[in-house]
Symmetry: C2
Subunit: 186 residues, 2 copies
């Protein structure tokens, strides 16, 4: 059972008269409580030829490695949120680059957005949500211990595009994008 956040009456799931899909509608005041996907924003922090990863200190995927990322907050932009998460989780100051990947995770009701980002110095530290933070060269990436398919896919694309020479700043960056399926595992 759900309750109305506006008047505390009970909620019924039904299709409103002027709508085509089921919504959470208050039985007393009639307010429709819409639900929408949330954005997870993060970076690919690059220092030299290395990428910065965080080992998660929280569920889900405790102990697995991730790019710094988290839920976008009210009042910030996607890019500012990605920079904030990079500071909070990895203690790293970055110069933000362009959007690099957009991954739809419909079954988790999320959209994951990763930005290219440059570290101006090799300064980083584990935030409260990280067990450790470290720079990895391509051949050292812990592919079997990555936390999420969106992180794995973004890193795969990144190393392919970097090898092709299209992430040098002299080329326009095309956003990589695809849908993540429920069955996908690391």
């Amino acid at each position: 059972m759900k309750f109305c956040s506006h008047c505390a009456a009970s909620i019924t799931v039904k299709i409103p008269l002027d709508d085509s899909r089921e919504r959470h509608v208050c039985d007393a005041c009639g307010m429709v409580h819409y639900q929408n996907p949330r954005n997870v924003v993060g970076t690919i922090p690059v220092f030299g030829d290395q990428v910065l990863l965080c080992r998660r200190a929280i569920a889900p995927r405790h102990g697995y490695w991730t790019l710094p990322a988290g839920f976008m907050e009210l009042g910030e932009s996607t890019s500012a949120g990605a920079a904030r998460e990079t500071m909070e989780e990895a203690g790293a100051m970055v110069t933000m680059g362009p959007l690099y990947s957009l991954l739809n995770v419909a079954h988790a009701e999320q959209v994951h957005l990763f930005y290219l980002a440059s570290m101006t110095s090799p300064v980083f530290s584990a935030g409260e949500e990280s067990l450790e933070v470290a720079l990895f060269s391509e051949h050292d990436i812990p592919w079997q211990e990555l936390a999420f398919p969106t992180v794995k896919q973004t890193l795969e694309w990144f190393f392919i595009d970097r090898a092709a020479g299209i992430l040098t700043g002299n080329h326009p960056v095309t956003v990589r994008s695809r849908d993540i399926l429920p069955a996908e595992k690391i």
Copy 2:
């Protein structure tokens, strides 16, 4: 006053112990009710050298012209949501292209995402949320009667990039992006 959607008790706005910003927290069950920005997804539907616009039949900006767009729904991807809105508002079937613009509208707690899209035929019709729908050449765009700054900015970028020959399908498309300021008016 707000109420907990889980147990109907009262809500207090405060910073939880393990957090750094104010949240809506239930006084009884302790549930934190997170609030996050919502995505508005739409298309730039192109037929020949023309772009399809809808005149809004609903608030806000009733009577003003917009690209077809609306709130992304649970269970769909950004691209699928943009195609759905194009069918619902403009009655147009499109072949979806790449992401073209990402505009942060922090004061409205929204992110606007527009995809390039091709109409395979000049078939369209006004949906319930549109007064009329029409194809416009660049010199006929009703610039003074556009509904939102994100639509105006996306159309401006589109015509600049098209004139520069970089939307032909032979070039990688770079996502155009910027933050919309509260003071911006059409």
